[in-house]
């Protein structure tokens, strides 16, 4: 009897140690046309920058960065770039440091929703942050660290 109890206790302990996992797999409630890969919020106090940056992948594999609810200060020669960093401080200077970057184009507007094509072959596991970057003064207006959606 004692032995049975011991065995049962041991089994219970084993079950507790290894734990059990319940895996759920609900699908999206629609057929996915384009996948949302990553998203993040902008921060930037010196040139107050806010909004969201999201990277989508179309069914043909093309990557697009979309800015939504976006607002930054207007300025000369402002660009949208991806940088090989986890995040960027206000006014971080990328030209003096050797931060690798991918150019996505001139900022289309300092307010509103906008899309930018990402060159094919861009390694998103390396380029993890979107930066609104003033080329003329090498100033980071705002940055959005991206996380998996």
């Amino acid at each position: 009897m004692v032995r049975t109890i011991k065995t049962l206790l041991a089994l219970a302990a084993l079950a507790f140690t290894f734990g059990t996992s319940v895996y759920a797999q609900d699908s999206m409630k629609h057929e996915d046309k384009a996948k949302t890969l990553e998203t993040g919020s902008f921060h930037g106090k010196v040139h107050s920058t806010s909004g969201r940056a999201t990277i989508y992948q179309e069914t043909d594999g093309k990557l697009v960065l979309r800015l939504t609810n976006f607002k930054t200060s207007n300025g000369p020669d402002v660009h949208v770039i991806l940088i090989a960093a986890k995040d960027a401080d206000d006014n971080a200077n990328f030209l003096k440091s050797s931060t690798e970057r991918v150019e996505l184009g001139s900022l289309k507007g300092n307010e509103g929703d906008q899309n930018y094509d990402i060159p094919s072959g861009t390694d998103l596991s390396k380029f993890q942050t979107v930066s609104i970057y003033c080329e003329r003064f090498n100033a980071n207006f705002g940055a959005a660290p991206l996380e998996k959606f």
Binding site: V22, N74, G112, D113
Partner: protein, 168 residues
């Protein structure tokens, strides 16, 4: 004498203009001061917008509290105005009587692991401690107020994980 002074002055003015104007122009080009007062607003449509797809409203990453919890919580709205919470990339520890609830993110209880009384909206029992899962929201939830998704163990009043939701 007068004529001489006049021509000397006008010569100097000419130099001032010749030197000053390019400086002014290049200073304007470099700083574009008028941009301080002007805005350039764009409104491009989403390249994938489809009125038949659920639209993400709010999203946030889950942070572990009493137990290691990770993943993303996103609230979607379907075209017929129904709302649901979707967990993706999700993992927490298994436990007894674990629920998914919405709570105000500024609730002081959420900074603790064990809570005394959480002002919350029940979304249902946790379907699985791993994997993608959807939870329907009751109609007319105030998402401005209840802006955090919480993985909550009712039995021990333990907050497994919290996701503070921000506008998508």
């Amino acid at each position: 004498m007068n004529a001489h002074v006049g021509s000397w002055l006008s010569g100097r003015k000419w130099i001032l203009v010749a030197v000053g104007l390019p400086i002014l122009v290049s200073a304007w080009w470099a700083f574009r001061p008028e941009k301080l007062w002007t805005n350039q607003k764009v409104s491009e449509p989403s390249p994938f917008a489809s009125s038949t797809d659920p639209q993400p409203l709010d999203t946030g990453r889950l942070e572990g509290k009493a137990h290691q919890t990770s993943g993303r919580a996103t609230i979607y709205r379907t075209p017929d105005r129904k709302q649901y919470l979707r967990l993706t990339d999700f993992s927490t520890s298994n436990g007894p009587d674990v629920h998914v609830v919405l709570a105000p993110s500024d609730d002081k209880n959420l900074s603790q692991e064990i809570v005394t009384g959480l002002d919350s909206i029940e979304l249902g029992s946790l379907k699985g401690n791993q994997g993608d899962q959807n939870y329907d929201l009751p109609a007319s939830v105030d998402l401005q107020k209840y802006n955090a998704a919480v993985i909550y163990c009712e039995r021990f009043h333990a907050v497994f994980g919290v996701a503070r939701l921000e506008q998508f």
